[in-house]
């Protein structure tokens, strides 16, 4: 699942890069074949991909946090706090899923489009919120479970630097 999501994010990114590049070059060099709405698609595509990537950041513990205080606390205290944090994460993910679903359905029913030449169907972009929530909640749940029942005081510390590359 994680590999599929990573691949999907990468593919969207590559597509956005190539099409946006084509837009720039084509408006310089071959006007007749120029497409000026690839940049708009890139906005929707990349923002969608990054909202979805938020769940991957939970998996690799890459979300940014203020570690000034917690890094000085005992392992046991860190564990209790992280269990709380993950529970809030689960709830927030579910809220995103719930409200995001209404948001997306609403845009679908109204047939809302972007006010541009492209008239991009906005529900596609809006689906980033429910999809992101649907992935965030289980990711936080898995983390919650690990910190509750598979706790390893040696390896699991909140002071560990972020693992983002």
């Amino acid at each position: 699942m994680s590999k599929f999501i990573r691949g999907l994010i990468g593919a969207i990114g590559l597509f956005a890069l190539l099409t946006y590049f084509y837009q720039i070059v084509s408006t310089w060099l071959f006007h007749d074949y120029a497409v000026i709405w690839f940049s708009e698609v890139a906005v929707y595509g990349l923002m969608w991909a990054m909202l979805v990537a938020a769940s991957e950041l939970v998996r690799v513990d890459g979300h940014i946090r203020a570690d000034f205080l917690v890094s000085r606390l005992s392992a046991a205290a860190q564990r209790r706090l992280e269990i709380f944090n993950c529970s809030v994460g689960v709830v927030f993910g579910l809220l995103m899923l719930w409200h995001g679903t209404f948001l997306t359905l609403d845009a679908w029913e109204l047939n809302e489009r972007s006010p541009t030449t492209l008239a991009f169907p906005l529900w596609v972009y809006y689906s980033a919120i429910p999809v992101s929530g649907a992935l965030l909640a289980p990711r936080f749940a898995i983390r919650l479970w690990r910190w509750s029942f598979r706790y390893d005081p040696g390896a699991m510390r909140l002071s560990h630097p972020a693992e983002v590359s």
Binding site: H31, I36, W37, R113, S114, P115, T116, T117, L122
Partner: protein, 313 residues
Amino acid sequence: ADYTLKMSIDGGPSHHRTKVAEQWVKDVAAATDGKLEIELFHSAQLFKDRDVPRALRQGALDIGMPGNWVLGGLDPNNDIFLLPMFYGIPIEEMHKISDGPVGEVLGQTLAEKLNIRIIGKWLDHGYSDLHATYPVESSADLAGKRVRSFGGAGTEARIRAFDGDPVLIPWADVPLALSQGNFDAMYSVSASVSSAKLWDAGITYTVAENAFFHQYLPMISESALEGLPEALAAAIFDTWAENVEAYRAMTAAASEDALSVLEANGITVVRPAPADLAASREMLMETQPALVEQLNIDPALVEQAIKDISAVN
């Protein structure tokens, strides 16, 4: 105040829409003896115009006044104003459209889709004129130039009709892109060009050719109205109806001022003769039928609009 409503608009403190909104807020407060306060948030502090209709529908906002160019995504018929038949048409004629049956249909559709009510006659924003970094007499001088489009298929079609190359650049990027030479000309409301001091960024010529006419639609959410006593709800509509001509005069004065500000800052302002405008319009009208189809505009509405403007036969 007993009741407070939130209102959101784009545009900075000195913009003519902000001035009108501030005046209306005062008028409402006076008419209701201070019982109803409208908190005005300008500069897109709460919402960009683009996002205002959705905020009204979702109940996050009470009052908005978005420009009709951001409404095409909700109902394509709002893009009717991008059609060539309105090129160079005087403001009194344009009011026959917005205040008449066409405006009625557009407003009704929005009201149903967004669960809002249109507060009254639309506020004028003004005409998009042609602004360029090189000497121009009319849009015919756009041939072979890169021309900034503010978005919408109608705008692009217009630029292509004059053999220009449209480039889509959001307003926020215009000053930088212009000073870097990313484009040579643009259609924009002169008041906006003046407030952004675009002469610093390279604009040297302005043709006041009334290429597109833009208006703002004052709207209030039904749920906000339901929360008000009848008298206060009525005051919202009444104050607008009583003062809208004065408000329109305010924005018209701002547009006229803008042209003199541009001139004072060294920009050559060209004012084409009505006959020239009519000739250009006739040329553009050949592209209209295809454009109506492409923009997905209701042909019956186009028929109605043609009937309403006496200048077009």
